[in-house]
């Protein structure tokens, strides 16, 4: 069957298209070995290389961390690679390695938390942790490294370092107590770092799945292991799951998530319920860590997605909106409170405690975000995107607008993004001192 000549034609000659015998006999096309290629021994290499340069407009006055330096104009560049090695053996046993390699020509500050053990030093500094910075120019990170096997296609095992999907949220996943590397609002497609452990999946057709995860991350003894379980099921066009996480010495954490569609809207939501022992929040008045009360804390995310036709193109515009509620989150402007503290020692300690427990865009009580994309923007190979996230407590926001150009039939994407950090001084979106930045980059896939 010669396919290329037909494609190579610029015009379509219907006489030529339909001049041949158009019925191919069954014995020429039926082949019962289909799919066997998936079972063959195979080693595959693939990956992506990203190179980007950013110009950042920086204001030291806004920099709560005091780590950003004094320069108003900052140029940074980065070259990164994600390299994937896919090793298939017979009987559906496979191995996979995802390696992240980063190079920072100007160097980047790496923030580390040091736990102090000297009682005298702790007493003198009035804290048992210190934040220190080191400048690094490159790093190599194993993001995933695991082996897959299964028992008669009834029980599937994945053991090693792996990224798990746990929860339905687009940006916020309150039920996900397993993954440590959180999603980045400014780079939602980033390949994240996994966690070490063993995942066991027991499917019951399409409609039901049971998952277990034995979390071995940072474990040195048996009691360090945490366990998570999830039962997922389908009711008509709605998928739901109940989950539980347990670890020796901690109260269990419960989760529920849901996804489906109604009319032309896709919806998703999840709720996590945990004892307040998991949250370290500052008391707004004293700036000390709030005492634990054993109260159950809920975190909820809910979102809607819809596609719109525009200019003869179906589903050209895609919009997702998401809301996040954190019962343990700050309901007052805590960053402003820390900045206005008159006692320098209390202020420094509070800064350290706040940053040590900081989860980007999750620490306050209410957040909202939207993610919008217009496909075939101006030209067919370009996508325009605009994403925004607002902290509804301190009214600060981050807005990212950009275009991605992926010339047809190529494996290169050229990106241009402008990120704006909006809000008053000493608010979440502005506390790193960034006012806005412009990023230009390219990504190749192989």
């Amino acid at each position: 069957m010669n396919t290329v000549p037909v494609l190579a034609e610029d015009t379509t000659d219907e006489d030529q298209l339909f001049s041949e015998d158009m019925i191919v006999s069954e014995d020429q096309i039926v082949d019962d070995t289909t799919g066997d290629e998936l079972k063959q021994k195979h080693i595959g290499f693939s990956g992506t290389i990203n190179s980007s340069t950013a110009y950042t407009r920086f204001d030291p006055v806004y920099d709560l961390t005091e780590l950003g330096g004094a320069e108003a104009d900052q140029i940074t560049s980065q070259t990164s690679a994600d390299i994937f090695v896919d090793i298939r053996l017979q009987n559906w046993i496979k191995g996979f390695l995802s390696l992240g390699v980063n190079y920072y020509p100007q160097g980047v500050d790496e923030l580390n938390t040091i736990t102090l053990t000297d009682p005298a030093l702790i007493a003198e500094l009035n804290t048992d942790t210190l934040l220190v910075t080191n400048k690094k120019y490159n790093d190599i990170l194993i993001k995933e490294f695991f082996i897959d096997a299964n028992w008669k296609n009834k029980v599937y095992f994945r053991t090693g370092k792996q990224l798990l999907k746990w929860g339905t949220g687009y940006f916020w996943n309150p039920t996900d107590l397993i993954n440590i590397d959180r999603k980045s609002f400014l780079d939602m497609a980033r390949v994240r770092e996994g966690v070490s452990g063993t995942k066991i999946t027991i499917p019951s057709g399409i409609k039901q799945n049971t998952y277990f995860f034995i979390d071995m991350n940072d474990t040195t003894k048996l009691s360090d292991i945490s366990l998570a379980g999830k039962y997922e099921f389908l009711v008509k066009n709605t998928e739901m799951s109940f989950s539980i996480w347990a670890k020796n010495g901690y109260h269990p954490v419960y989760g529920f998530d849901i996804s489906g569609n109604i009319f032309t809207l896709d919806y998703h939501g999840e709720i996590g319920l945990a004892n307040d022992e998991r949250y370290n929040a500052l008391n707004y008045d004293t700036l000390g860590i709030k005492p634990k009360t054993g109260e159950m804390i809920s975190q909820v995310s809910f979102g809607l997605s819809k596609s719109f036709d525009y200019g003869e193109v179906k589903d050209r515009i895609n919009v997702t909106g998401e809301f996040f509620y954190n019962q343990a989150g700050y309901d007052k402007d805590i960053i402003g409170r820390i900045a206005s503290e008159s006692n320098p020692e209390t202020k420094k300690t509070a800064q350290g405690l706040y940053l040590a427990n900081y989860q980007p865009y999750s620490n306050s009580k209410y957040y909202a975000a939207f993610f919008g994309a217009i496909n075939k923007f101006i030209v067919s190979d370009m996508t325009f995107s605009m994403n925004g996230l607002i902290n509804l407590v301190d009214n600060s926001a981050v807005l990212t607008t950009g275009i991605a150009y992926n010339p047809a039939l190529t494996d290169i994407v050229i990106n241009f993004n402008i990120n704006s950090y909006l809000g008053a001084q000493n608010t979440e979106a502005t506390m790193m001192g960034k006012r806005w930045d412009v990023n230009v980059g390219a990504q190749i896939s192989f």
């Binding site: 396919t3 069954e26 896919d86 296609n153 499917p203």
Partner: protein, 257 residues
């Protein structure tokens, strides 16, 4: 003589057009025949290849494996080429469809029109849909079905127009060219709601399995963005019963990287 002349004119004006009309079958009869001739009631596994071409910019090839279970109209498709798309796939049963993205290890519970693996193909394109359930004959100003006898190359065909019964279709209006002798669908053109021609498709090769037809080679011409063509090939077809475990998220994840 004058009376005879008037009578002949009346015959020509009234009866002959109706005779010509009567020669063409009803559009619904053709749609039912198409539904029936492609209604292959068996499990199936096949290799698919999409070859995309853009004028002056070369070609890009996608390959994968497609599994379809007949009893509940489920399917699973997974890409095997290019390497960067390898492992991305779609699992579908009934109204539920999941898009597996290897990069983020997520099963996204999606609407059926989501694009897959960076192509213009939509997940819904792989569903088995009956024409008689989604389309109805288009009528002209006189309330008659739009169907005419014509030729496609040297092949006598009927050209007919149909309109969508609901929004759950890619094209609200389509024009079909079907063979007069067996109603095989050879060519179709899809139009947007405003009447713009969006796509021309040619079904170039067929095979017959268990007495039913299967399109194994098609060409799609993007009329909205001139110069874009996609050739679709289906090969290595197996009609053996597929194991239940294939249609699970765990199996798709295991196939993936």
């Amino acid at each position: 003589m004058k009376k005879w002349l008037i009578t002949l004119v009346l015959i020509a004006a009234v009866i002959l057009p109706n005779m010509a009309w009567a020669a063409a079958p009803k559009v619904n009869t053709i749609l039912e025949a198409i539904d029936d001739m492609f209604d292959l009631k068996t499990d199936g596994t096949a290799k698919f290849t999409f070859t995309q071409q853009k004028a002056g910019e070369g070609v890009k090839k996608y390959e994968g494996i497609y599994y379809r279970r007949d009893k509940d109209d489920s399917f699973l498709m997974v890409f095997t080429l290019p390497e960067v798309e390898k492992g991305n796939g779609v699992l579908k049963q009934g109204e539920n469809m999941w898009l597996y993205k290897r990069n983020t290890r997520t099963f996204q519970h999606i609407a059926r029109d989501e694009s897959i693996a960076g192509t213009d193909a939509k997940a819904g394109d792989f569903e088995k849909k009956k024409l008689t359930e989604t389309y109805k004959p288009a009528l002209d100003a006189a309330g008659k079905e739009k169907i005419t006898a014509t030729k496609l190359g040297d092949i006598p065909v009927y050209q007919l127009e149909i309109t969508a019964k609901n929004d759950d279709v890619t094209y609200p209006k389509q024009i079909f060219w079907v063979r007069q002798d067996n109603f095989l669908l050879l060519k179709s053109q899809g139009y947007s709601l405003s009447g713009t021609l969006m796509n021309t498709s040619y079904n170039l090769k067929f095979t017959q399995i268990q007495g039913k037809y299967l399109v194994i080679k098609s060409m799609y011409i993007d009329e909205f963005e001139k110069g874009n063509k996609t050739l679709s090939d289906i090969s290595n077809i197996s009609i053996q019963k597929i194991n239940e475990h294939v249609f699970t998220k765990a199996y798709l994840e295991n196939l993936s990287k």
